[in-house]
């Protein structure tokens, strides 16, 4: 009963936070409220009985904050951005548009709630019971969530992994800067005091070890490929805090990510699609565990490389001053 009460209190705080974000004037306030918002949602997921999703949300909110901050920082450093923001903040909102928009959305929300299908309890739970009853025999491992997204619905996970690879390719191709290599070994101008270096040196090995732990027994306790990958990526962020130098090559990391992605496709093809392991008498506990750990490891590596490339891309290259970048124009050919 107490957990339900805790969840409701946190949900109220969650909604209040969303309202703050909508009505915050300065962009930096939006960032901080968004940080608090993600922290609260992560805990609410935990109280709803979803530790995997909670961990994913926590890790993702850290990276989302980094991406947003790098984007905002350029806006403010130009000075004009700040003046424009002050001016627009000072200018009174035209209340007519505000009230009209509010009325429209309130009508939509009322309509939505009016038509919510009122089935009292959970209509059908056979599928859930089937999953819980059978997943240990079919896919192995103790964690039902890992069994589903690595065993039953591995087809979804393939396309989701593909989307992450495409996102990394897109970030590099669509960005304003055509170059992919920062002058290796160049020190980042982000100041870090001695204390930061000292503290991060202690935390870094712990996170790396923790990431390996998450990957290795993802199928037994809460955790798994994504979270291990996120932990590795957080390790790289801490490493950047310690050394503060852009020395890891982005090009190689992208190539490795694609290689790992090819393995992510090939492994389920032999393990699940053709039913090789499970239906020619080899469906032993050992094979299942090998498959799950291998898949977790591969997915972890891919997510780690993906976020590594995104992080370094944002920290090193998206923050370059404009003058350095010369975009050579193609000839105006058309095919």
């Amino acid at each position: 009963m107490a957990i339900a009460l805790t969840t409701e209190i946190l949900l109220v705080f969650w909604v209040v936070n969303a309202i703050w974000i909508v009505f915050a004037k300065k962009t930096y306030r939006v960032m901080i409220f968004f940080g608090v918002f993600s922290l609260i949602t992560s805990v609410i997921y935990l109280f709803l009985g979803a530790p995997d999703v909670a961990m994913a949300e926590a890790g993702i909110s850290a990276f989302a904050t980094i991406f947003f901050i790098v984007c905002i920082e350029k806006y403010y450093s130009r000075g004009s951005g700040l003046k424009a923001e002050m001016a627009s903040a000072a200018k009174p909102r035209n209340y007519f548009k505000l009230v009209a928009a509010f009325a429209f959305v309130a009508m939509l929300c009322g309509l939505f709630i009016f038509f919510v299908p009122t089935t009292t309890e959970y209509a059908y739970t056979e599928l859930r019971d089937l999953y819980l009853f059978q997943f240990m025999r079919d896919v192995g491992g103790r964690n039902a969530v890992t069994a589903i997204y690595l065993g039953y619905r591995v087809y979804d996970t393939l396309f989701e992994a593909l989307l992450l690879v495409t996102a990394v390719v897109a970030v590099i191709h669509l960005s304003w800067f055509d170059r992919t290599i920062v002058a290796d070994g160049r020190h980042s101008e982000v100041e870090r005091s001695r204390m930061t270096k000292f503290a991060m040196r202690i935390v870094c090995p712990i996170i790396l070890l923790f990431g390996m732990y998450l990957v290795m027994n993802g199928h037994i306790s809460a955790g798994g490929g994504f979270l291990g990958g996120l932990a590795f990526a957080l390790f790289l962020v801490c490493r950047f805090m310690v050394l503060g130098v852009y020395d890891l090559p982005i090009e190689k990391a992208m190539k490795l990510e694609e290689l790992v992605f090819i393995n992510i496709i090939i492994l389920p093809i032999f393990a699940i699609f053709t039913g090789f392991i499970y239906f020619y008498g080899y469906a032993t506990e050992m094979f299942q565990n090998i498959y799950l750990i291998a898949m977790n490891f591969l997915v972890g590596l891919k997510v780690a490389f993906g976020f590594f490339v995104l992080f370094y891309r944002y920290i090193a290259i998206e923050r370059l001053p404009d003058k350095e970048e010369v975009v050579e124009a193609f000839d105006d050919g058309e095919d």
Partner: protein, 536 residues
């Protein structure tokens, strides 16, 4: 081939995409790409024959019941898969000669990914899988639309991406309610449960999902930004051809699937929406001067027509609109590829500046005219067969409106056809680079001939593709020919006096919604749909 092969239909293009991107140099990669595309036609054809009688279903990983993801290939899915593979082959052959600096390995990577995602979308019957595949295809299309660095339309691309994310959140919300009501993620099982429920409790999930699918096919309110994005963003003609030819068709395919799942709840609502979209598409097409925008808005008009045909509820009109989807993909791709070559030769994309193309490039102009005859429904071409059956279900008012829409299409393409006659104005550029070589002319001519062939053998094609034994009564077809001839005459008259002199509705030319207005229009569409379903 064991049914397990269905998964390889989707996995093979993705694997090839990544292999080409990682391992091979550009020269070898392009050769392999064309070889694979051609080889891929064989399994697609096999699928078409295999699904003639029965449907092939396979659970990925052979888990029993609805635990795993189930891929089903019935005849309709097979037709769409064949269409996708054929069009990617045509576009592949078309771009085989482009100079090396323009088609890097990333371009091949994205083209194969899009092909894999679209084929996956046509085969899968799992709700969440559709969400993942639509997201993948949206991201890939966003990159392709902004592929050329210097002619990149960043703002339209970002708006396209943001609107698509919001729309997919609506879809996920609706999916949540379906999972709550039916407790299962597969379409067949869900539709069995949903039939037993009354409209009132299904109003919300239906409205949420249908809003997202309507914006995928860019029906009325969300109309103005899709053509602006898929043609104006400096993207290449080939990408615009794939967008209009296939990407919108995926939206229409989802529309068909979800109408079956929900047992056709809002058909007459979508009848009205389809008609309005068609009329708006035609008017906007008439007011454009840029070639690509004219073709894009005419795609919207034809999609509106297809949605009307589908929601007429009559067996003939449904088969007619399915055949119209296939035809429309063919002649739209032909139109875009011809336009690409002609605009390259005349060095401008403005219709008003191109004149006398027939004398200048007879071969391309001939293919282009065949495609135009196809789209306006000339007697011997495939357009007439599909429009004939599409209209057969319409009665009274809707019939006249559809004739009006056809007249509008004819008007738009009469305006477009003006580029063939008169004496050539601008200096024609024929020197090196991307000039339309033998390959491109052959491709375009081939498409034109296919349009003609499908026109002549229409009834047999429809029987084979959609196993709908259709009888083409000679007299009613003759009557349709009469109507067609009359409307062409009217079209030329109107064009001669009304349109060619002064600009037709110039202000409609640059109409584009801001991001906030698009959100408001999505919300309004959702509200109207919910009220319609819930109350009536």
């Amino acid at each position: 081939m064991p049914p397990q092969m269905l998964t390889f239909f989707v996995i093979v293009p993705v694997l090839i995409a990544v292999f080409l991107y990682v391992f091979f140099t550009l020269k070898i990669a392009r050769v392999i790409a064309i070889a694979v595309q051609a080889a891929f036609m064989v399994p697609a054809a096999w699928l078409l024959f295999a699904t003639q009688e029965s449907e092939i279903a396979v659970t990925v990983g052979d888990y029993e019941g609805f635990l795993g993801i189930i891929l089903r290939a019935d005849l309709l899915a097979a037709v769409f898969v064949c269409l996708t593979v054929f069009i990617f082959l045509v576009v592949g052959i078309y771009t085989v000669q482009t100079p090396y600096d323009r088609t890097k390995r990333l371009y091949l990577f994205l083209i194969f990914l899009l092909e894999g995602a679209l084929i996956g979308l046509f085969l899968t019957r799992d709700f969440f899988n559709i969400f993942v595949l639509v997201e993948v295809s949206t991201v890939v299309v966003t990159i392709l639309l902004m592929y050329d660095r210097e002619r990149r339309n960043l703002f339209a691309g970002m708006t396209f991406l943001m609107v698509n994310i919001i729309v997919m959140q609506l879809y996920l919300f609706g999916l949540g309610y379906i999972y709550m009501l039916t407790g299962v993620m597969d379409m067949e099982a869900a539709s069995a449960v949903l039939y037993t429920m009354d409209d009132r409790s299904l109003a919300l999930p239906y409205a949420l999902i249908m809003t997202s699918i309507a914006s995928k096919c860019s029906l009325l309110p969300m109309l103005t930004w899709l053509p602006k994005v898929n043609s104006l963003t400096g993207s290449r003609f080939t990408i615009a051809a794939i967008m209009s030819g296939l990407h919108i068709k995926a939206g229409v395919y989802l529309f068909i699937r979800f109408q079956d799942v929900f047992g056709g709840m809002g058909t007459d609502f979508f009848l009205v929406i389809g008609i309005i979209t068609a009329v708006a598409g035609v008017i906007m097409a008439l007011s454009q001067t840029d070639v690509r925008l004219l073709l894009a808005y005419s795609t919207i008009a034809q999609v509106g027509l297809i949605i009307t045909g589908l929601s007429l509820g009559d067996g003939y009109s449904r088969v007619g609109s399915l055949f119209h989807i296939v035809n429309h993909s063919l002649f739209k791709v032909a139109l875009f590829l011809c336009a690409s070559q002609i605009t390259y030769l005349y060095h401008t994309k403005d219709i008003r500046k191109i004149r006398g193309a027939l004398r200048q490039t007879p071969l391309i102009a001939a293919a282009n005219i065949m495609a135009i005859l196809g789209i306006i429904g000339a007697p011997l071409f495939n357009g007439s067969i599909s429009k004939y059956f599409l209209m057969s279900g319409a009665t009274g008012a809707t019939e006249w409106i559809i004739i009006l829409i056809n007249l509008g299409t004819i008007l738009a393409f009469v305006k477009y056809a003006a580029i063939f006659f008169g004496k050539p104005l601008g200096k024609v550029r024929t020197e090196g680079g991307d000039e339309p070589d033998f390959n491109r002319r052959a491709v375009v001519l081939g498409l034109g001939i296919i349009c003609l062939a499908l026109g002549i053998g229409g009834a047999q094609a429809m029987d084979f593709l959609f196993d709908a034994p259709v009888s083409l009564s000679f007299w009613s077809y003759l009557e349709k020919v009469g109507i067609f001839a009359a409307s062409v005459a009217i079209g030329i008259l109107i064009y001669r006096y009304a349109i060619s002199k002064r600009e037709f509705l110039p202000k409609l030319n640059g109409l584009s919604l801001s991001f906030q207005q698009i959100c408001v229009s999505i919300g309004a569409f959702f509200a109207v749909l919910v009220i319609y379903i819930g109350v009536f």
